[in-house]
């Protein structure tokens, strides 16, 4: 490279990266910063204060919808953890071809709006009541695909010799699965569940179609508040959620990523 080339490219690179990073982070930064604003005006800084955090935490609609979201996410994730793992194992054992794999992961590609109206139609057909159940059911559906994706990837990298050694030492298939295979899959299962959990917490569109009055999830609640204008508690709530999500994800990454990425010895 000539000197001039190095400089030009360096400048271009730096500018692009900065611009995109600012574009991506600016809105989040604004929300986080304004959550600490002591005034209630949207963008005039009036001093540091935690009052909106207190307001958010004591707001009944916000907290009950948060609780609802957590309940939905936990239930859906639990279902998806089990079924997603089973799906991955089944696909892995039955066929290694790409077709079955694609089919298994299809739920993740269905547009959420379609899944939302479809679930609504399903519940209408059987005259089931929509609410907590309908949201859980739909969330679990796409989470299954996510967990399956993670576990399938890990299954591909497992050393078959370990299962064979276990069989050779006299273990039944069930025992082999419980003591040998499952522990190796755990990191991937947990990672898939963590991702699915956070997606479910934030999921709006499906919830929008399938919630009822008593079972509003957090995004739904925020939406109705936001439609009527901007309220400062939301800034605080959003920042809290962001921090919690970051902490969870980073913890998961730190603990699980090396285990997931470990290659065959």
């Amino acid at each position: 490279m000539t000197r001039r080339e190095t400089v030009t490219w360096g400048l271009l690179r730096g500018t692009t990266l900065t611009l995109v990073c600012v574009f991506l982070l600016a809105p989040v930064a604004v929300v986080a910063v304004m959550s600490l604003n002591s005034g209630d005006s949207v963008l005039r800084w009036e001093g540091l204060s935690l009052q909106w955090y207190a307001a958010a935490l004591s707001s009944q609609p916000l907290m009950s919808s948060l609780f609802m979201s957590l309940a939905v996410a936990a239930t859906a994730t639990a279902i998806a953890g089990v079924l997603g793992t089973m799906l991955a194992i089944g696909v892995h054992r039955v066929a290694r071809g790409p077709l079955l794999r694609a089919l298994a992961l299809l739920p993740a590609f269905v547009p959420d709006i379609v899944l939302g109206i479809g679930t609504l139609s399903l519940f209408a057909l059987f005259a089931w009541k929509i609410g907590f159940t309908s949201v859980v059911v739909a969330h679990a559906a796409f989470e299954i695909a996510i967990v399956a994706a993670f576990v399938l990837a890990r299954l591909g990298g497992l050393d078959p010799a370990l299962e064979e050694a276990s069989a050779n030492l006299g273990a039944t298939r069930l025992r082999t699965f419980r003591r040998i295979v499952l522990p190796q899959l755990m990191p991937s299962i947990l990672a898939g569940c963590a991702l699915g959990f956070s997606l479910s917490l934030d999921e709006f569109i499906i919830a929008f179609f399938t919630t009822a009055a008593g079972s509003q999830t957090l995004p739904i609640q925020v939406y109705s508040m936001v439609r009527f204008g901007v309220s400062p508690e939301i800034n605080a709530l959003a920042t809290m959620l962001l921090v919690v999500t970051i902490v969870i994800i980073l913890a998961v990454q730190r603990a699980l990523l090396p285990l997931i990425l470990r290659r065959k010895p």
């Binding site: 709006i113 379609v114 925020v222 959003a238 970051i246």
Partner: protein, 291 residues
């Protein structure tokens, strides 16, 4: 294969099929059936108080052909294509700029990428309302510096809807392209350079073709979701911009014309299938090029 190995393989297959029963059953009931219902609903008539009923009719399809709805369809398509295109360009620029960074720098950039992803999607749209509003950080300094006299109406325009949609879906485009770029052999670029290719030619003949599968994955993740997103047009567009997603939402929850809403949903699915087919075709052409 020895007979015991063959027997083992069949046993594995059988146990695999058994394991598949529960998840397949669940997905069948809660994904396949809903999709089927949407398909079927499109051919039925609207119910008296919402829902669907017989007789079978294609009224909803006919309705779709009305200029109003065709116009919305085309506008949505145009908007999504714009959003997708902008995302592709920005994503490639970003990935190219990322090249040559240390692994630590790259990891840092990925975190920056993911932070908006981890923030509630609603909150992010809401944040843009703040940014683009009349007292927002864009208008405020311009006003106080006297550059403009009236605050610019940045909000509630089609352009702002596009910008925010790009914002929401950009990470979904960057990630697959970055992953694809990672697996491109760097000596290929050196070879191209040595053979006389300048930067643009290198991008056009080496990077672009070899990352095309990743780019298409990104398009799948951006094109249809951006069309079905109704929150952004609602909050940022102020209801003035109407995309397919808004109409579907309206038909199902307000107008209660489920068959028509289903028809619209079908167009979305048709589009999705179209994009997936294109992606599969291109991926097949590239089989065997993975390192």
């Amino acid at each position: 294969m020895s007979s015991s190995a063959a027997a083992g393989a069949t046993r594995a297959r059988r146990s695999g099929l058994l394991t598949l029963i529960s998840p397949a059953g669940y997905l069948g009931l809660f994904v396949a059936v809903p999709l089927l219902l949407v398909l079927v609903s499109a051919f039925l008539t609207r119910g008296r108080v919402g829902g669907v009923r017989l007789p079978i009719s294609v009224d909803s399809f006919v309705l779709l052909a009305e200029p109003v709805y065709l116009g919305i369809l085309l506008t949505s398509l145009a908007t999504s294509l714009t959003v997708t295109l902008v995302c592709v360009v920005v994503a490639y620029a970003f990935v190219a700029a990322m090249r040559g960074m240390s692994p630590r720098g790259r990891a840092g950039l990925l975190v920056v990428l993911m932070v908006p992803f981890w923030t509630s999607f609603l909150i992010r749209a809401y944040a843009w309302m703040l940014l683009l509003g009349e007292h927002g950080p864009v208008n405020a300094p311009l006003l106080s510096l006297g550059v403009i006299e009236q605050p610019l109406t940045l909000l509630y325009t089609p352009a702002s809807v596009t910008v925010v949609l790009v914002y929401v879906y950009l990470p979904m485009m960057i990630l697959p392209i970055a992953a694809a770029a990672e697996s491109v052999d760097p000596t290929l670029r050196d070879a191209a350079r040595n053979l006389g290719a300048g930067a643009w030619r290198r991008f056009r003949t080496i990077d672009l073709p070899l990352t095309l599968p990743g780019c298409l994955t990104g398009c799948v993740l951006v094109l249809v979701p951006s069309m079905s997103n109704f929150v952004v047009p609602d909050l940022i567009g102020g209801g003035k911009t109407v995309l397919i997603g808004n109409v579907i939402q309206d038909e199902f929850l307000v107008s209660r014309n489920w068959p028509f809403g289903s028809v619209l949903a079908l167009t979305l699915i048709a589009l999705l299938v179209g994009v997936l087919v294109v992606q599969a075709a291109v991926s097949r052409r590239f089989e065997g090029h993975a390192r």
